[in-house]
């Protein structure tokens, strides 16, 4: 097996009093789309920037292709396509000028692939960038990140500003790249996007990774809502005592439970207590991520995500 393309080992970065990221660790294998999901300000862009050598890490080690992105920046940048979250190209240049300059710096002479990308995304090349809308600017950013067929793509909110047709086109493009052996690091706050595109996901909140797993496993770990109605009422305590079960609502004749993990024990108790009706709702990833985001972080410990992840794996 190939060595991992990206390795982050306990990287931390602080900005004054403000905690940027702390002890962030993950590995990305070749050909993988790795989703990096978290709310704004959680440290996604900071991590991105450390990987691409724009920021130093205070502690820990990040390697890309086995190289330090700060000290071997040229070697790393040659093989990386980076799309910053806040794209700010030279406003006075046209897209064509900008792309040809970047291509020049990269020593890219064959523009066939670039032209193909321009065509696919309908990029407006001949107007000055400052007159372009955000979506059109983003398209130029995408072309400049992909045009040299990089081995690693580091993408920060890549589809912001794109309409849904182009988002689909972008998804195809990512798949093509991974089919050719490229690796993708995809940051986003959009669960839908990550869920659709990524193979594996890390969730970051307030600078710490709370879970890393495959999308499928996360889906299994997502809490299901199970509601029971009882003829004579029931003691919620018996359900609460079970592992991975949380009583979300208890009324005189019914109970709502959030169940993570197998439902058999729950059903057994419900049967014993004489449930007259049961409703179960499909696992909802949205819910799961809200739990991750919401969980308290007073001292960096929160039991919920760990618990959920255990069930998932």
């Amino acid at each position: 097996m190939n060595p991992p393309v990206v390795v982050a080992e306990g990287i931390s970065r602080r900005f004054g009093n403000h905690q940027g990221i702390e002890q962030v660790s993950f590995e990305i294998a070749q050909g993988e789309i790795f989703g990096f999901l978290g709310p704004n300000g959680a440290g996604k862009s900071t991590t991105n920037r450390i990987l691409v050598g724009l920021f130093r890490a205070d502690a820990g080690r990040a390697t890309v292709f086995g190289l330090d992105p700060l000290h071997n920046d040229r070697q790393v940048h040659r093989r990386v396509g980076y799309l910053p979250g806040e794209l700010a190209p030279y406003p006075r240049l046209s897209g064509r000028q900008l792309l040809s300059r970047f291509a020049g710096v990269r020593g890219l002479t064959d523009t066939a692939y670039r032209d193909q990308l321009v065509d696919r995304f309908g990029v407006e090349l001949d107007r000055r960038i400052r007159t372009l809308s955000k979506g059109n600017r983003q398209k130029i950013g995408i072309v400049s990140a992909f045009m040299h067929r990089p081995d690693l793509l580091i993408l920060d909110e890549p589809t912001s500003g794109l309409d849904s047709l182009l988002q689909d086109e972008f998804a195809h493009l990512l798949r093509e790249c991974t089919d050719h052996g490229s690796t993708v690091f995809l940051s986003s706050h959009e669960l839908d996007e990550v869920q659709r595109l990524a193979d594996r996901v890390a969730v970051i909140r307030e600078g710490r990774i709370v879970v890393t797993d495959t999308v499928e496993a996360l889906r299994q770990a997502a809490p299901r809502t199970v509601e029971f109605r009882f003829a004579h009422g029931a003691d919620p305590g018996r359900f609460a005592a079970l592992d991975g079960v949380r009583v979300t609502n208890a009324s005189a004749d019914g109970l709502s439970l959030a169940v993570t993990g197998p439902v058999a024990p729950v059903l057994a108790i419900a049967a014993e207590l004489g449930a007259v009706d049961v409703t179960a709702r499909r696992a909802n990833l949205d819910e799961l991520f809200l739990t991750y985001y919401r969980a308290p972080s007073a001292d960096g410990h929160n039991d919920l995500p760990g618990e959920a992840a255990d069930y998932g794996s």
Binding site: N17, H18, P39, N40, G41, A42, S45, R49, V52, G53, L54, F55, R56, D73, R74, Q75, H77, R78, V80, Y82, P84, G85, E86, L87, A88, P89, Y90, F102, V105, R106, E124, R127, T131, L132, S133, K134, G135, N136, S144, S160, G161, L162, D163, S164, L165, Q167, D168, H189, E190, D192, E206, L290, Y293, R294
Partner: protein, 459 residues
């Protein structure tokens, strides 16, 4: 620049024999020194020195070099452009190197033009030795490059353009004062070696030619440049001014990142206020339209596409699309929001499910002034490009007319009724007849900001 130098040169014969001028200078040499005058004012070199070389020429060069130096790294870092460049396969050393090298093409034309203009003085009795003249010109140019490189250095060190400007300008000013006053003010005399002015133009270089001291000026260039490389190597190329996405924040308001250190209501108010203002930025138009709970469908109104609230939106797969008429707004290049003012919502039943924009609670009027100016500028731009306005009737129906149309006045002169969004958008450049001030005055007095989406008038 050339014009100024030529005037100075041509004027020389008129002042050449003015002994009064020399007496004036002679009687109070400190004041003269403050103006950069040392020695005789009426000698050719004294004249050039006092009027051009000791003050004006360095100042002009500083304007360019310090301005450029501060914006080339720090400014681009703040703007976000630098992160694109830094992630190209170039060493940071090369990036700074090229940026420093640009200082040459920037300053050389000024030096050369000045030199050429002064040489015209040959025909106006302004006889100066050419060698020292060239030397002093090079000295002045290098002086500018020095402080420009310094600005690059401070900018690369701090990543802050304003700091770079301030530090470099302050040091240049101090250097100027020391260099010119050291000749007459006793206690400053020993300090003169600290001043780069002394080494480049203030030590009689026009008369005697550049000395070995000019070498020092060069060395400073080299030192500042290499320090800038080191500084840039350790610079965190920052994020562009960080924003929370309105989309996300609105969908999950409780998930907005909590800052442990800014829990006071005051700070929250400032943050919200800033968020409100940021919504005015053109970048946000897409985010605004994609807001989860709002229905962003645009439908035609009197044949003109209008951003209107609706209860459903077209769905392609799981994603919804924002539409202008029958096309996606994102396919409209140059779509931008324009701020106008309307009154508070009085009749919320007409809003058809539109949730009023809590972020747009009016900030203090004083704070709005800059936004008003921006709005005015934008309106002017709109006129120039003959763009079409698309109104958001959900908000416009709340608006009251800015003034009742006078009976008898021509329809063209009548102010379009704000009550009806479509009137605003039916003419190609409706704002042509709108008093910009009345728009901004409303913005100033009270009420809520509204977005108008402006698209090229190509329907």
């Amino acid at each position: 620049m050339v014009g100024y130098v030529l005037v100075i040169v041509v004027l020389y014969p008129a002042f050449k024999d003015s002994t009064g001028l020399d007496k004036l200078v002679g009687s109070d040499s400190t004041v003269a020194a403050l103006l950069g005058v040392t020695g005789s004012l009426t000698s050719p070199t004294g004249w050039l020195n006092a009027n051009i070389y000791a003050n004006f020429l360095p100042l002009v060069i500083f304007l360019m070099t310090i301005g450029y130096g501060a914006s080339t790294i720090a400014g681009q870092a703040e703007g976000g452009t630098l992160s694109l460049i830094t992630t190209l396969p170039l060493t940071r050393r090369r990036i700074v190197g090229e940026k420093l090298a640009v200082m040459g093409p920037l300053t050389v034309p000024v030096g050369a033009a000045t030199l050429a203009a002064v040489l015209v003085g040959q025909w106006f009795q302004l006889d100066v030795a050419i060698g020292p003249l060239i030397g002093a010109t090079i000295g002045a140019t290098l002086l500018g490059v020095d402080f420009g490189a310094l600005a690059v250095l401070v900018g690369a060190w701090t990543g802050n353009r304003a700091t770079a400007l301030a530090v470099a300008s302050a040091l240049a000013a101090a250097s100027y004062l020391i260099g010119s006053l050291a000749a007459t003010v006793q206690w400053m005399h020993p300090l003169r070696f600290l001043s780069l002015f002394y080494w480049s133009v203030a030590d009689g270089q026009l008369t005697t030619g550049p000395t070995a001291g000019s070498l020092l000026v060069l060395i400073v260039v080299a030192l500042a440049a290499s320090a800038a490389v080191v500084a840039f190597n350790r610079l965190d190329v920052p994020l562009q001014h960080q924003r929370t996405s309105p989309n996300y924040a609105d969908r999950y308001p409780h998930l907005r990142p909590r800052n442990r250190h800014s829990s006071t209501a005051f700070r929250t108010a400032i943050a919200d206020y800033k968020l409100g203002l940021r919504l005015l930025r053109d970048d946000d138009i897409d985010g605004d339209l994609h807001r989860g709970f709002r229905s962003p469908v645009l439908e035609p109104m009197n044949g003109v596409a209008v951003l209107a609230p609706a209860h459903t939106r077209p769905e392609v797969g799981a994603d919804s699309v924002s539409m202008v008429g029958d096309r996606s707004l994102q396919h409209e290049d140059g779509a931008r929001p324009a701020p106008v003012i309307v009154h508070r919502a009085e009749d919320s039943t007409r809003l058809k499910g539109h949730h009023s924009h809590t972020k747009l609670a009016p900030p203090h009027p004083d704070d709005l002034r800059t936004e008003i100016h921006r709005g005015q500028q934008f309106h002017r731009d709109t006129l120039r490009r003959r763009q079409r306005l698309i109104a958001h009737p959900a908000l416009l129906i709340q608006a009251r007319p800015t003034a009742p149309a006078k009976p008898g006045s021509s329809p063209r002169r009548a102010r379009p009724g704000w009550r009806h969004g479509h009137e605003l958008s039916t003419s190609a450049s409706p704002l042509a007849r709108r008093d910009q001030r009345s728009v901004s005055a409303h913005l100033y007095e009270d009420g809520v900001l509204v977005f108008l989406f402006v698209l090229p008038g190509s329907w």
